[in-house]
């Protein structure tokens, strides 16, 4: 038994030694070498999910066991150059290195491939030469989740999407600035099947996630509703009630300009004030009432 144990220990020791030799041959130096100079970064980095996983016990893949070098690549050349900036072979995960965005992204995607990033290649943000580090910071947990470069998704996204940020301050808006929703509630910045980086397969599917009551199918369908919620609503906010594009009755009159709906009506008309058309047609999203063909029931 002891012989077997001895052989096992010799074998594993030899194997470990071989692995170390292989790593050295590939130019890996190990976390301890990195930490010797970059101590200032460790205090923050050690609290990040990467630091928790990139350990010998928790790493799922051999690459993850490389620690710092899992992302930055082998550090031998950098060390041999005395830690000089620009030493070849070391990948800088920084947003200002746009010429290396594809390389940076490849490093991230080596672990974060597939799943929510299946459509990253060819996506809007990829085609703009953005790198993962444009929106994420690897070395410090600034946000609660997702290692975002700002404290919240809204702050991160609005560094470029200025108008979308302002629209969140409209009188009628979704609870994004209150922190009960985020940009990621509707969009997947990593690429999607739908336009505008909408997470779900269609705009309506996206809306139904929270507004399942509008999903139907209804006995009496209102065609523009089930095709596209955005025919009537502005998703980022509107100065008009219910996040509508236009006030009623004008919105309805875009498609119903004749009959009783077609009158321009005065501002104090009882069919203009309050909820306007919806006072007689409250089930405008669809009705399941046998007599609800006018969405009145």
């Amino acid at each position: 038994m002891s012989t077997i144990l001895l052989l096992y220990l010799l074998f594993t020791a030899a194997d470990a030694s071989a692995q170390e030799e292989k790593a050295a041959a590939e130019g890996y130096v190990g976390d301890e070498v990195c930490a010797a100079c970059h101590q200032d970064l460790l205090a923050h980095y050690e609290k990040t999910p990467h630091a928790k996983v990139f350990t010998s016990k928790n790493a799922r893949t051999p690459l993850m066991q490389r620690g710092c070098e899992a992302c930055h690549g082998p550090g031998a050349a950098h060390v041999q150059a005395g830690g000089a900036k620009g030493a070849k072979g070391l990948l800088h995960l920084r947003a200002d290195r746009t010429e290396e965005s594809a390389k940076q992204n490849a490093a991230c995607l080596s672990c974060h491939k597939g799943d929510e990033r299946l459509y990253w290649h060819g996506s809007t943000h990829e085609s703009l030469d953005l790198s993962c580090s444009s929106c994420h910071t690897v070395m410090q947990a600034v946000s609660r989740a997702g290692l975002l470069s700002a404290r919240t998704e809204m702050e991160t996204c609005s560094s470029c999407h200025l108008i979308a940020r302002s629209q969140q301050f409209q009188n009628y808006h979704m609870p994004v600035r209150e922190g009960k929703m985020s940009c990621g509630s509707c969009h997947n910045a990593h690429g999607t099947i739908a336009d505008k980086l909408i997470s779900d397969h269609t705009i309506n599917d996206n809306c139904y996630r929270c507004h399942a009551e509008k999903r139907g199918p209804f006995l009496w369908e209102h065609a523009p509703v089930y095709e596209n919620c955005l025919n009537c609503h502005q998703p980022h906010g509107s100065p008009r009630a219910a996040m509508l594009k236009l006030s009623l009755p004008r919105l309805c009159q875009q498609c119903h300009p004749s009959g009783h709906a077609g009158s321009p009506r005065a501002p104090d008309d009882r069919f203009v004030i309050g909820s306007s058309c919806l006072q007689c047609h409250p089930n405008i999203h669809g009705s399941n009432h046998p007599s609800g063909n006018r969405f009145q029931r």
Binding site: V142, Y208, G216, Q254, P257, P267, S291
Partner: protein, 693 residues
């Protein structure tokens, strides 16, 4: 504040400014040995005082900012080996905006999590209603009320009998999930979410159409939405595969609401409104992506998804009137079923180092397989007699296809141009235009002379044509805007500039025009302009300044009715301006954040023509100001005090609600609720002590 070169840059500047205001430079906390575990975290206890005129629905919407004590905590417990963890974020423990998130597991292997998030959707807190039974499915008038068709008499009674009724509901979102990596290349996820809504919202019902006799009332909100998702992902070096399932069940406990008739119109005392029916949805998807073999780097990604929506809520009778005509129903429920099919294929390739190409095809079929329901009579409202006729509830379908080809060529290291053509086809089986085709040309140029100096200009020309249009019973000249011929021109510019090493500018601008040709009525033209600038200035080691301004304007022109002719112009305009400063007053001891944001919006509804009958509506206007001064004071190594002052002021005018009484103008016998949204002004003082462990 430690400044690295990239802190000059816009996103990084924002991050750095934020992290500078986070104690210990972010979310990093000290580790403490606590028995067998390593613990880190913090506990906060605070008090918020609010003064002035703040009791408005707008102030309360989606958040709890009322005076009182607040408590929050976050923690992380780990075993000494750093393998297992238990962590939590607990926010607003004492308030109405509670948010809890708990997670446990082993790093890199599995994670189990659960949470709760709650908020109030507040429509109004100054509404008045005469109805008893608020929040229930049966609303009755109080004893002593005498039905009348005389508006003045009704108003007098309503004023005497109505009482204040909030219009709001609470939404609680419960979540639970598991993420598990059983193998290096296999990821499994399962999640469950429950959305629970409870309260009231405004609704209405008419007792005497045409011509009104409508009542506004507090409709009950009492529903649950269960959602399940599950996925299995295979992650290989050159390919990956994902199988996913999404399920959702909507259960409405208030599937109808009965409202007592306050008028003499009709023969009964009750009207009934159907509410949203219960429904179920399932979706299965299979996605795959792979590097393609060959010398040219190329990748393919594809998804095939199948969905099923069902709805079989029992029909209500035609009428709630026991004495009135109540025709037999042809079936008891809709037995509704919609099947959706999605196929998506994207191929990307780089045939040359300076050339990227992308091809895409997408097919989406919304196939409503529900049988048409034929009714031989209809009861317009619960007070009316049955009207004989054929009323066919025809189910609607559509199919949408997109195909596009994009090429992106790098002219120089600093310059890239992109061209794309896309074809979009809609097939709508039962609408006015069965086929519409969009042809889209997109051009874009990217110029990046330096890493952080970047300009993108893009232009889109889009034309849509229908293939035959049947207006049905509508005016022959009417073309609904979602199917009408359209020419769209869109121009967008985004730029990030670095005029000085310590200044970053982000500029954005856009123009979008949709012109609907070949139509005489309804929406005719839509034009949007938008512009924005964001500036950040790293003045010194201890001072960062930022400011922004955005402008957004959209105008819709429409041609009015077929009789009399009038034209309408609707405009939404918004200005936002903000300034802020982050200061390190005493390094490591005292930080400050100062900010001011002014939001201004105006919505105009103008009309002319129709021999003077068309007139402008008063503009809807609102503005919101938020002034904030927050200080982060480190008292001890493990204790800090955050204190500050915030001023908020909201002013809004909306002619549709501001003057709303209990009956509409003109003395008609309709019932309103006088529910508007008050302005508010709030001085908010807060102090929070946080103990870190």
């Amino acid at each position: 504040m430690h400044r690295t070169p990239h802190l000059r840059l816009p996103r990084a500047t924002l991050a750095a400014a934020l992290s500078a205001c986070l104690p210990l430079g972010g979310l990093a906390l000290a580790d403490t040995q606590l028995g067998p575990v390593i613990a880190s975290g913090e506990v906060s206890l605070g008090y918020q005082g609010v003064s002035d005129d703040f009791r408005s629905a707008k102030y309360q919407q989606y958040r709890d900012e009322d005076p009182g004590v607040s408590a929050a905590s976050r923690f992380l417990f780990e075993d000494p080996e750093g393998e297992h963890f238990f962590q939590g974020w607990l926010d607003d423990l004492t308030g109405d905006s509670q948010e809890y998130q708990l997670g446990a597991g082993r790093y890199g292997r599995y994670r189990i999590e659960g949470g709760l998030s709650q908020f109030w959707q507040v429509f109004s807190n100054n509404g008045f209603t005469p109805y008893l039974g608020t929040g229930s499915e049966s609303l009755s008038l109080p004893a002593g009320y005498v039905p009348t068709d005389d508006g003045a008499v009704m108003e007098a009674q309503l004023e005497a009998l109505s009482r204040n009724s909030d219009l709001k509901f609470r939404q609680r979102n419960y979540t639970a999930g598991v993420t598990f990596w059983p193998q290096e290349e296999l990821l499994l996820k399962a999640n469950y979410a429950l959305r629970d809504r409870d309260g009231t919202r405004p609704s209405a019902l008419n007792f005497g159409s045409p011509g009104g006799r409508f009542v506004n009332f507090t409709a009950p909100v009492d529903d649950l939405t269960h959602s399940w998702t599950g996925s299995a992902v295979m992650l290989r070096d050159w390919w990956n595969l994902k199988f996913g399932y999404n399920g959702s069940s909507y259960d409405n406990d208030a599937d109808s609401v009965s409202v007592e008739n306050p008028t003499l119109t009709g023969t009964t005392t009750v009207g009934r409104l159907s509410r949203e029916p219960d429904n179920r949805a399932h979706q299965f998807s299979l996605s795959a992506a792979a590097q393609l073999p060959g010398e040219i780097p190329a990748r393919i990604a594809t998804t095939l998804a199948y969905g099923l929506l069902r709805q079989d809520e029992s029909f209500l009778p035609h009428s709630a009137n026991p004495a009135g005509a109540n025709p037999a129903l042809p079936q008891n429920d809709l037995d509704g079923e919609v099947r959706t099919l999605l196929a998506n294929l994207v191929v990307t390739a780089r045939p040359r180092p300076d050339l990227n190409v992308k091809g895409r095809y997408r097919y989406y079929d919304y196939n409503n397989e529900t049988d048409s329901v034929v009714f031989t009579s209809r009861v317009r409202n619960d007070q009316a007699a049955a009207t004989a006729g054929l009323f066919v509830a025809k189910q609607l379908n559509y199919r949408r296809q997109n195909a596009s080809l994009e090429a992106s060529y790098r002219l120089a290291p600093t310059t890239k141009v992109t061209a794309e053509y896309e074809w979009v086809n809609w097939y709508r089986e039962d609408r006015n235009a069965t086929h519409t085709n969009d042809h889209v040309l997109r051009l874009a140029a990217d110029y990046r002379p330096q890493p952080w100096t970047w300009v993108r200009a893009s232009y889109q020309f889009r034309t849509r044509n229908y293939n035959g249009y049947d207006p049905g019973s509508a005016d022959p000249a009417l073309r609904n805007f979602d199917m009408a011929d359209r020419v769209r021109n869109q121009l967008d510019v985004v730029a990030t500039l670095l005029p000085r090493e310590d200044v970053t500018l982000t500029l954005t601008g856009g123009y979008d025009n949709s012109n609907y040709d070949n139509k005489s009525f309804g929406l005719d033209d839509e034009v949007s302009w938008m512009a924005g600038i964001d500036a950040a200035y790293n003045a010194t080691e201890w001072l960062t300044l930022n400011s922004f301004y955005t402008f957004d304007r959209t105008r819709w022109d429409q041609d009015g009715s077929t009789s009399g002719g009038w034209v309408g112009r609707n405009t939404n305009k918004t200005h936002d301006v903000g300034i802020g400063a982050n200061l390190v007053l005493i390094p490591g001891k005292l930080d400050a954040r100062l900010s001011y944001h002014y939001h201004w919006a105006k919505a105009q509804t103008e009309a002319s023509g129709a021999a003077g009958a068309a007139e402008d509506y008063p503009s809807i206007k609102d503005n919101l100001q938020v002034l904030s001064a927050m200080f982060d004071h480190r008292l001890r190594d493990n204790m800090r005090l955050e204190w500050g002052y915030r001023f908020e002021r909201f002013n809004g005018t909306d002619f549709k609600f501001d003057e709303l009484g209990l009956i509409p103008p003109g003395g008609t016998a309709d019932v309103e609720m006088s529910n508007n949204v008050d302005d508010y002004k709030a001085h908010i003082f807060l102090a929070t002590v946080t103990y870190e462990f």
